[in-house]
Amino acid sequence: MKNIGDILDDKKMRTRPFSVPEGYFETVEARVHDRIEASQRRPSLVAILRPAVLMACMFLIIGGIGYGTLKLTGSLDARDRAAEQLEANLRGLEFTDEEAATFLETELSPAAFEEMLAVAYQY
């Protein structure tokens, strides 16, 4: 076999070997003009708004699924139920105001007790 360098220098090799569909070059001009026309056409209002509408729909669907899931699993009512339970428990306890004050005074630090009094009596 000939040297690769000589093969590459062969005039036949330096001619592009590709084929092109018949009449291709006669169609280029018209197709380029079609592309230019299409790129200059102003998009319709529907086309402009479509992405925003799609995104809004997506948020609605995701929100709906989330709300439905919370509703179905009862997670939304859990906080209300816990508050009701605490109130019921407290209602069952009986103590005088003096007992409550003594309890708080002994259980809380002096600073926290002062702060609580300040909030309660707004001084």
Binding site: M13, S19, V28
Partner: protein, 181 residues
């Protein structure tokens, strides 16, 4: 019609006519330039249309500091280089082989099917990095002067000579490996 006549027509407000004359004069050479780089008709056709679209949109900015022909070639070459870089990245992301994809596109051309040496040359060109591919094909097929290539690629003629030399060595080595197998 000469380049200067086409530009004169354009400056006199005959925008469409000047553009049509440009397309008639340069479409074929630009197509073959793009085809040598991307090696597939569909891709070359797409890039040719993109090139003309870009030319149409930026003709107002053409200041005639370079020749029209080198300006057109620069736009087409940049389109091809961007396309080749994207194709390589896409292949990398999808974990497919870029060269295998190009080989199968090359094999679709009826003219190439049975010619082992031509296939080896096209495979070797496919393996070159995009810019080197531009340098190699412009010089090898079109025998374009280095000064024109320098204007198109915006690099010095001496670095282009070195780049062509390296590309040719790579092509020879790749062809040798393929033909010896």
């Amino acid at each position: 019609m000469e380049e200067s006549d086409i530009l004169c027509l354009y400056r006199n407000g005959e925008r469409h006519q000047a553009f049509n004359l440009m397309m008639r004069r340069y479409s074929e050479s630009l197509y073959w330039h793009l085809r040598s780089m991307v090696q597939c008709h569909e891709d070359a056709d797409d890039l040719l249309q993109n090139t003309w679209l870009r030319v149409w949109n930026s003709l107002d900015t053409f200041r005639a500091e370079s020749r029209l022909y080198t300006w057109l070639y620069r736009i087409a070459t940049n389109e091809a280089i961007t396309f080749l870089n994207r194709s390589r990245q896409r292949a990398m992301i999808s974990l497919s082989s870029y060269t295998r994809e190009v080989y199968s596109k090359i094999a679709e051309d009826d003219n190439l099917g049975a010619d082992r040496i031509q296939l080896a040359l096209q495979h070797a060109i496919a393996k070159l990095p995009p810019r080197q591919k531009a340098v190699f094909t412009m010089r090898y097929y079109d025998e374009m002067p280095y000064e024109d290539m320098a204007e198109i690629l915006e690099v010095s003629a001496s670095s282009l000579k070195a780049s062509y030399h390296h590309a040719r060595e790579k092509v020879e080595q790749s062809m040798k490996n393929e033909l010896d197998r």
